[in-house]
């Protein structure tokens, strides 16, 4: 095949819609960085001493990087994925040793005196490629335990190293790959279990110290056990379709719970949670009996879920007590249990004030006072969304979210039209990573998710992250452009 002809065809079949969204976002991002880092004493936004000036350099080099990535064929990644993965892991480990301590984390490598790179931003694409190539293998199936364990190991290894670099936030991003695995056939019950754990945690801790009227019952504990009971009952129905078991669990469980509440409220007040705990244990025993009787493995898994659900509240409570004070306070502030506007809640509270003060149309470019008066910390990196909210108002902040939704939707479309598993897995990886960043970063600024320091792609200031996301995206765009070409080699 002629190289030139190939590239010309590539050029034509590139997805220009995604590229224009990419360009729109980095330019929009640059204006936000200007707003966030603007200094009235040095009003020159193009000066290379200011973050806005430096960001221009990052944008320019990113576009160059993007253009050159379009020349690298998909087959190259296919062949070199494992090698790249291996090299990136080595680089991560090396970083552990040579990185200087930056605010407690050891994740930045200094190149010369001015440039610092964060290798963790570049390993995502390597993991995505490796997952794709691994799953593209002939005869791969998620159902084989060995294959599945290897997949999970590919994801967990970089997470582990990054956690050791004390960059827990960046490590959590790799959880996004489990969504990719779900698309490729991982059982949904795992995702549901994770979701259930989050719900238990939030409800249990938030209302753990609130008491029901006239009864010595902790609302948090009660709610978690009740949820566990319903989730287990639901799972039994969804996965095993056993109508008799459903009826026994539903009527028995709900009936016993109601009786216990009435008894506690009108006869002798006692802790109803003991009854709920008993119901959950009976459910577990029942599920184990069903598993033996029907010789169905699934019942055992549900029983496992039931054990996890029942014990989760107590485990979480004990765990929380063993956390450091500042971490526990952070969690309690996030869950709304404590109001602490000066301490742990300060960042989020100031962020909310900044965004709230933007109103419908915002204060105008470079006119935001909350962010410029340095009320908001990390305003040009992790908290960049504040500046958008303040200067561009609801129009701007909702606009950013909608552009992101379009962008993610487009990536799903592109991923689905890939001819092979490599392309699809890689495409979903890109999509899910952006989704995860959006979820955590904007959620944190809005006070809905924990304060985890990860950037908002294309908007936050920083060379490493912009390069990393450009790399991730444009490898995929080139793959996508090749979808119509038959494999010749």
């Amino acid at each position: 095949m002629q190289q030139t002809g190939n590239n010309k065809g590539i050029f034509l079949s590139l997805d220009w819609l995604t590229i224009s969204m990419y360009l729109a976002m980095i330019i929009w991002g640059w204006f936000s960085v200007c707003g966030a880092s603007y200094d009235f004493a040095h009003p020159d936004v193009f000066s290379f001493n200011s973050n806005s000036g430096k960001q221009l350099v990052w944008i320019g080099t990113s576009i160059l990087l993007a253009a050159s990535l379009l020349f690298v064929e998909k087959s190259f990644y296919e062949k070199s994925a494992y090698f790249v993965y291996f090299m990136m892991m080595m680089l991560l480990i090396l970083t552990l040793f040579i990185a200087q301590d930056t605010k407690g984390s050891r994740s930045w490598i200094a190149l010369g005196s001015t440039i610092k790179l964060q290798p963790a931003e570049f390993t995502k694409f390597a993991v995505a490629l490796t997952l794709g190539v691994f799953m593209n293998r002939y005869g791969f199936t998620m159902k084989r335990t060995k294959d599945f364990v290897q997949l999970v190991a590919i994801i967990l290894l970089p997470m582990l190293i990054i956690v050791m670099q004390k960059e827990t936030g960046s490590a959590l991003v790799y959880l996004a790959f489990f969504l990719v695995l779900y698309r490729e056939g991982m059982t949904g019950s795992l995702l549901f279990t994770a979701f259930a754990c989050v719900v238990y945690f939030v409800v249990g801790i938030r209302y753990g110290d609130d008491w029901m009227a006239y009864m010595p019952v902790s609302i948090g504990e009660f709610a978690v056990l009740l949820l566990a009971q319903f989730f287990v009952t639901g799972m039994t129905w969804v996965f095993c379709k056993n109508a008799l078991a459903l009826r026994i669990m539903l009527y028995g469980g709900v009936g016993a719970t109601l009786l216990a509440i009435l008894f506690s409220a009108y006869v002798i007040p006692f802790d109803v949670c003991w009854v709920l705990l008993g119901i959950c244990i009976l459910q577990i025993i029942y599920l184990v009996i069903l598993a033996i009787y029907h010789r169905l493995y699934r019942y055992l898994l549900i029983a496992g879920f039931a054990i996890l659900s029942t014990s989760f509240f107590y485990l979480a409570d004990t765990m929380l007590e063993h956390l450091d004070d500042h971490q526990r306070i952070r969690i309690e502030v996030l869950l709304g249990k404590k109001e602490d506007v000066r301490g742990a809640g300060y960042n989020v509270n100031q962020a909310k004030i900044a965004i709230g003060s933007g109103g419908a149309t915002g204060k105008g470019f470079l006119n935001g006072t909350q962010t410029k008066l340095k009320y908001v910390p990390e305003q040009d990196t992790d908290f960049i969304f504040c500046t958008i909210g303040e200067e561009e108002g609801f129009m701007g902040s909702a606009g950013v979210l909608l552009v992101y939704l379009m962008f993610i939707w487009r990536l799903i479309v592109l991923a689905e039209r890939q001819p092979d598993t490599l392309g699809r897995v890689y495409g979903y990886s890109v999509c899910c990573i952006f989704l995860f960043h959006l979820f955590i970063n904007v959620g944190m600024v809005l006070g809905l998710t924990p304060v985890i320091g990860i950037p908002l792609p294309f908007f936050s200031y920083g060379g490493s992250s912009l390069w990393g996301f450009t790399l991730l995206l444009f490898i995929f765009l080139r793959m996508d452009a090749e979808r119509n070409f038959k494999k010749n080699n």
Partner: protein, 641 residues
């Protein structure tokens, strides 16, 4: 394959997750930005503006409720650079009575981050401070025309009397260093810089209040944030009542005119300081306006006699013979002397192995009480000699010296007494280690004999000498001397109620009291004798490297149930009886009878006009200042106990 078909549907799950996230975030934004008025009253852009309300600083009274320091309103002109628009500079300058050049210079200074590190164009910056009330009304009328300029009400300190400058201290603008280290202060805030203003800053200042206001993009105030829920009212500063008697202080300052030195009077029972005179002094009323204040500080800096130095607590002097009382007490307690039977000879001084300490003519040999009354040098030199060379009681000279030092420290010497004023000096009491290093181990009782008569290495502050008087008056204890008697709605430290007992038993004090009484009735302090009450006293004539001897007096009255203990110290005043005794007598009369008799009044005027010539001292100081030197004062020696 059937399964991929099912898996295909999972794209909707992932897309659905994205949709749910974005939609819920947008709903949140609708609440934050469009609905909730907590953050936003309207579509206009608002920002918070913290309006600080300064509490009134506590006022200061003397012990009789006489008002000493109070407040008067003054006005600061503040500027928010971002809001300065269409300013009629000429009109502005005329209103404030400043020149155009001054205006430009000041605006440049505010913007200069080096000179004004906390600069922000969004917040109020001090343009000029302390506009007097007369100018305020005209400025106030025109203020609406000057966009970006604000008036901030402050108060300035006013002083009712020209006295007590050193004790009252001063209030000045806070330094950058303090702003960086104490979150309470912001640039432009006031803080006590000297005297009780500084030592009681936290009580006097109160707590600043705050109004959290919202304002629009043009700086117009739109109202209170959350209806003022976050506003805090200022807490006014607490009023202080000093233990100082301003009439006594006035007399003291009058008597010390034209002389260097200090007078400290203490109420022995309570440790309350009745007067704290340091001479030369200055008129605190000159601190009131900015111009006079700058002029005063210039003058004080230039003056070679250092009027800013509070000699009463910072000056360290040889105590001379006043110190002999402490020696008598030590020797009695240690059993070195017997109050009735020990007789030491004095052949116009102490003569032994070539060592000679002179004395004046009096009968010899003498027992203790007449020795104190006549201030016999020989007696106390023999006493110390016998103490230091006593090898039955002490195993070595080192132990004996250490024992001596412990007695001195128990009487409040060698360390700061802990007066509630900043910068107290600790004085100097030599210890054995000090002599070991000074004489390279080669010393004997004779080498240090002069400390027995308050000379040599011994240095005390006038406060410590007065405190010695109070200790003797109390027959064996003192209470930490202090100038703040009462804090309104507050509490003085409990440590000011504790009796500090010396190492000497109360009974031994009676001999010293009797000796001091005899000094007044028939000894060196005859000038202080009066029929109104029984005065006890001890003179001091201290040799020093600055020429003429210093004149000192330590005394208390009445002998039984003492009301006042006093130290008068006049630099280069020659004999203790020349200045110390008569000034001390006048002070005691003023305090104990509430006024001076006509005869005493005439005497006071005479002393007021009797000046000592310090020209040669001043000349020396001037020369020393030109030649750079690190040691601040020749008299002050470091080390020792």
């Amino acid at each position: 394959m059937a399964e991929p078909k099912i898996l295909d549907n999972r794209k909707y799950v992932i897309g659905g997750i994205a949709l749910v996230i974005v939609v819920s975030y947008i709903i949140r934004l609708v609440f934050l930005q469009l609905i909730t008025s907590d953050y936003q009253t309207s579509a206009e852009s608002n920002a918070f503006y913290n309006n600080i309300i300064y509490p009134s600083r506590g006022v200061i009274y003397d012990r009789n409720g006489e008002l000493l320091v109070y407040n008067q309103p003054a006005y600061d002109i503040m500027v928010v650079m971002r809001e300065v628009k269409d300013l009629d500079t000429l009109d502005f300058c005329n209103t404030l009575h400043i020149t155009r050049e001054r205006f430009d210079q000041r605006m440049a200074e505010i913007k200069d981050v080096n000179k004004n590190p906390g600069y922000s164009s969004y917040t109020q910056q001090l343009f000029t401070g302390q506009v007097p009330p007369e100018e305020y009304s005209t400025i106030q009328e025109k203020m609406f025309r000057f966009n970006g300029f604000y008036i901030r009400e402050r108060t300035i300190r006013q002083y009712k009397y020209p006295y007590l400058a050193h004790v009252l201290g001063d209030v000045g603008e806070v330094s950058q260093d303090i702003v960086d280290n104490d979150p309470y202060y912001q640039p432009g805030d006031h803080i006590g810089t000297m005297g009780v203003e500084r030592s009681h800053e936290e009580e006097l200042r109160g707590v600043k209040g705050i109004q959290v206001l919202l304002r629009d993009a043009r700086g117009r105030i739109q109202g209170h944030y959350k209806n003022g829920q976050l506003d805090r009212k200022p807490v006014p500063g607490k009023d202080l009542t000093l233990s100082i008697d301003v009439k006594l202080q006035a007399l003291g300052e009058r008597l010390m005119e034209g002389k260097l030195g200090a007078i400290v009077a203490i109420q022995p029972k309570t440790g309350e300081i009745l007067c704290l005179v340091s001479s030369p002094t200055y008129d605190p009323r000159r601190l009131e306006t900015k111009e006079k204040r700058a002029e005063l500080y210039n003058e004080l800096r230039e003056d070679p006699l250092k009027p800013q130095l509070n000699r009463a607590i910072l000056g360290t002097y040889p105590p001379g013979s006043t110190f002999k009382t402490s020696q008598a007490l030590t020797f009695l307690q240690e059993g070195i002397i017997d109050p009735h039977h020990t007789l030491y000879s004095c052949s116009r001084g102490f003569h032994y192995k070539g060592m000679k300490v002179g004395c004046h003519g009096h009968g010899s040999p003498l027992p203790l009480i007449p020795a104190i009354a006549t201030s016999c040098n020989g007696y106390f030199c023999w006493g110390l000699y016998h103490m230091l060379s006593n090898r039955t009681r002490y195993d070595s000279q080192h132990t004996a010296m250490t024992t001596w030092k412990d007695y001195m420290v128990s009487m409040g010497f060698g360390y700061k007494l802990g007066i509630d004023l900043p910068g107290e000096a600790r004085g100097m009491i030599p210890n054995a280690d000090y002599y070991d290093s000074r004489f390279k181990q080669q010393w004997n009782p004779l080498s240090v004999i002069s400390i027995a008569i308050g000379q040599g290495e011994v240095l005390l502050t006038p406060l410590q000498i007065a405190n010695l008087g109070a200790t003797i008056a109390n027959r064996g204890y003192y209470i930490t001397p202090h100038v703040v008697r009462e804090i309104k709605n507050g509490q003085v430290a409990d440590s000011l109620k504790v009796r500090h007992y010396t190492k000497v038993d109360s009974t031994y004090y009676n001999y010293v009291v009797q000796g001091m009484r005899n000094a007044v009735t028939g000894g060196t302090c005859r000038g202080a004798n009066t029929s109104l009450y029984e005065v006890c006293g001890k003179t001091g004539t201290a040799q020093n490297p600055h020429g003429q001897d210093h004149s000192a007096f330590m005394g208390f009255a009445p002998m039984n149930n003492p009301e006042i203990a006093i130290c008068v110290y006049v630099e280069n005043g020659h004999f203790g009886a020349t200045y110390g005794v008569p000034i001390g007598a006048l002070m005691m009369e003023q305090y104990l009878t509430g006024e001076l008799s006509p005869a005493s009044e005439a005497k006071a005027t005479a002393f007021q006009n009797r000046h000592i010539n310090y020209d040669s001292r001043a000349e020396k100081e001037r020369k020393r200042e030109k030649a750079p030197s690190n040691s601040p004062k020749g008299e002050r020696v470091k080390g020792g106990a």
